[in-house]
């Protein structure tokens, strides 16, 4: 167990180093990516450019530059090339928004995903199963931003039943916080509801044919008890894995589209605004922040998996 954790920890550090290195490398080889030339502007002389390059440390060897940037990120000294705002500070300011959005949406999608999956599995082969399956497929095929644009138009712009984008901190007004986030939550959750519903339906139909389910039935347990205690519990194990990874991706900036559509100033939004100006430090910060959640959660998921399903051994 300890060996496993240590190995995973080393692996995590290596993956994060590799991710940051690739991001840096990509930006250096991209022709428009050289920050010094772009900061200097169109009328700059070579001397200006060299001066900026020296100030930002871009004249040092590539590996040193990369190392300096990662170090600055961790010590909290990394600043945007253009706005001079502190990257870590900006990410921290976006955290409440991104976390509120992700956690709320995750609760909705997990709950409804399970409901949809169970309903479809119980009614397998019937018309209602078909209907649920088709609806789930439509949910999967719907681009998040299109759904967001349509929901915002129908419920916030054409009829003002909901506030039109924006964020109210939970600490200042919980009711308004909830009211402002309801549409973004639904937008973000729909895709996952469809996806989890489909996966869970498949898992449950596989599990129903297992021997232990037959044994449970033969013992005389009620169908409801068999379904919930035996079939559902076992079918949920793979869903937990999916949930951990998807939740990590959404926390780590994967909600960028929803944040852009609803004008929520979270971490994804910060990245989207920095991207337009090819501002490397914020992108580096957000990319590493996102990759961090993904690697941490994949380790947690592996541990959880072994705990939930004792047949799986951590090795």
């Amino acid at each position: 167990m300890l060996a496993f954790l240590v190995r995973r920890l080393i692996g995590m550090v290596l993956v994060l180093a590799a991710v940051s290195f690739i991001v840096y490398f990509v930006f250096v080889i991209i022709p428009g990516g050289d920050p010094a030339t772009r900061i200097a502007g169109k009328l700059a002389t070579q001397t200006n450019i060299d001066e900026i390059r020296q100030r930002l440390g871009l004249d040092k060897p590539f590996v040193v530059q990369w190392f300096d940037m990662v170090k600055a990120l961790f010590t909290g000294e990394l600043r945007s090339y253009f706005t001079q705002l502190n990257v870590r500070q900006q990410i921290i300011e976006g955290l409440p928004v991104t976390f509120s959005l992700s956690i709320g949406a995750a609760i909705i999608w997990f709950f409804f995903g399970v409901v949809v999956g169970v309903l479809a599995a119980v009614k397998a082969g019937r018309l209602s199963d078909r209907l649920i399956t088709v609806l789930a497929l439509i949910g999967i095929s719907m681009p998040v931003f299109f759904l967001g644009v349509v929901l915002r138009y129908l419920f916030a712009q054409r009829n003002s039943w909901f506030p039109d984008g924006g964020y109210v901190p939970l600490t200042s007004n919980p009711a308004q916080w909830f009211y402002h986030l309801l549409l973004p939550w639904l937008t973000l959750a729909v895709l996952f509801i469809g996806f989890y519903g489909r996966v869970l339906r498949g898992n449950m139909l596989d599990t129903i044919n297992e021997d232990f389910v037959r044994t449970a039935r033969a013992k005389g347990l009620s169908p409801r008890r068999v379904l919930i205690k035996h079939v559902l519990r076992n079918s949920l194990i793979p869903i937990v894995t999916l949930f951990g990874l998807d939740f990590a991706a959404v926390l780590g900036g994967g909600a960028i589209l929803t944040e852009s559509v609803f004008n929520l100033h979270g971490v994804g939004w910060y990245a989207a605004t920095s991207v337009a100006s090819l501002d490397l430090p914020p992108l580096m910060g957000v990319t590493l922040y996102g990759a961090f959640f993904i690697v941490v959660f994949s380790t947690i998921v592996d541990l959880l998996y072994a705990w939930l399903d004792p047949r799986v051994r951590i090795s």
Binding site: P143, F145, V150, F195, L257
Partner: protein, 364 residues
Amino acid sequence: MATRTDPTELTLDTAAALAAEEEAVEIRGKSPWALAWRRLRRNRFALLFLGVFLLIVVACALAPVYASSVAHTTPDENHIGENVTVGGKQIPVITKGGIKFVNGQTEFHPGGVPIGPQWWHARGRFVLGADKNGRDVAVRLLYGGRNSLVIGIGSSVICSVLAICLALIAGYYGGVLDWLITRFFDLIWAFPVILLGIALGTALQINGFHHFGITIQPGSLWIPTLVISYVLIPYIGRPLRGQILSLREKEFVEAAVAQGASSARIMAFEILPNLASSALVLFTLIIANNILTEAALSFLGAGVQLPDPSWGNMISEGQQTIITAPWLGIAPGISIVLAVLSLNVFGDGLRDALDPRATVRVEH
């Protein structure tokens, strides 16, 4: 079938009876593909959606024909200030705005509102209305679809080829190569996909790419295609590598080795054909995914660059005018949903047909 005895009375004679029955029809061996096709043919639902997708592909391929002979315009041609004849009346493409007196009441009409969907009332012009620049939305929708489909399918081809090659090398050779390639898959997995996609897409759009003897001009469709193509490599590579690991131990591979076949030959002619069905299913499903990714990148301004249309950037443009002209955003959105839905349904059907007990699935 008439000679068939009651199945409950299975005796030794049943075998003889069955044999006699089957002699009536010549028994022909069916290839796995023929069997799959037979199963697929029975799945009307999947075939219907295959039809929908092909219809979309054909419609988008015929975009230039539609533009020149039905709508009489191009995707980028502005019609601001022009009028269009609808049912004998002249209607401005973009309203000029002003105040009108109707039944003694003053009505205020805002200016700059584009003409709405005309269906066939304007003889094929502005079937889905115009956008804020007075461009024909139906024409842009077809051209945009062409871009979206070319990028979606192109990136899926590149992705599949790379993933299959990597999976073959990893699964067949094993050892250090396997370790390296598996770690590579993990690395791609840990990347915040859309973030890097936007960063790369935006950066490449500024000056293009001029390295390693390859030149890509800014605005080229190659940029979003390549940016999207790497994303799903692990989704195809991982399950295929798993299959190859077990195929490698099969007797027919051993037989090929004994015959002195080279590694390349074994991979190409012994292992690859056995992967074809899984790869085909995954390929169908990743086209759907890549169309969605392309739309997302274009929506954020990092994919297809305006004025070139794509379904994603049309939604982004439509969002700005959604209150006065909702159809601008809704038409491309519905197109995406239809295209992706039909691919997903067909992909599911294909999976069931090729291997009813398959467990490979693509994750969104």
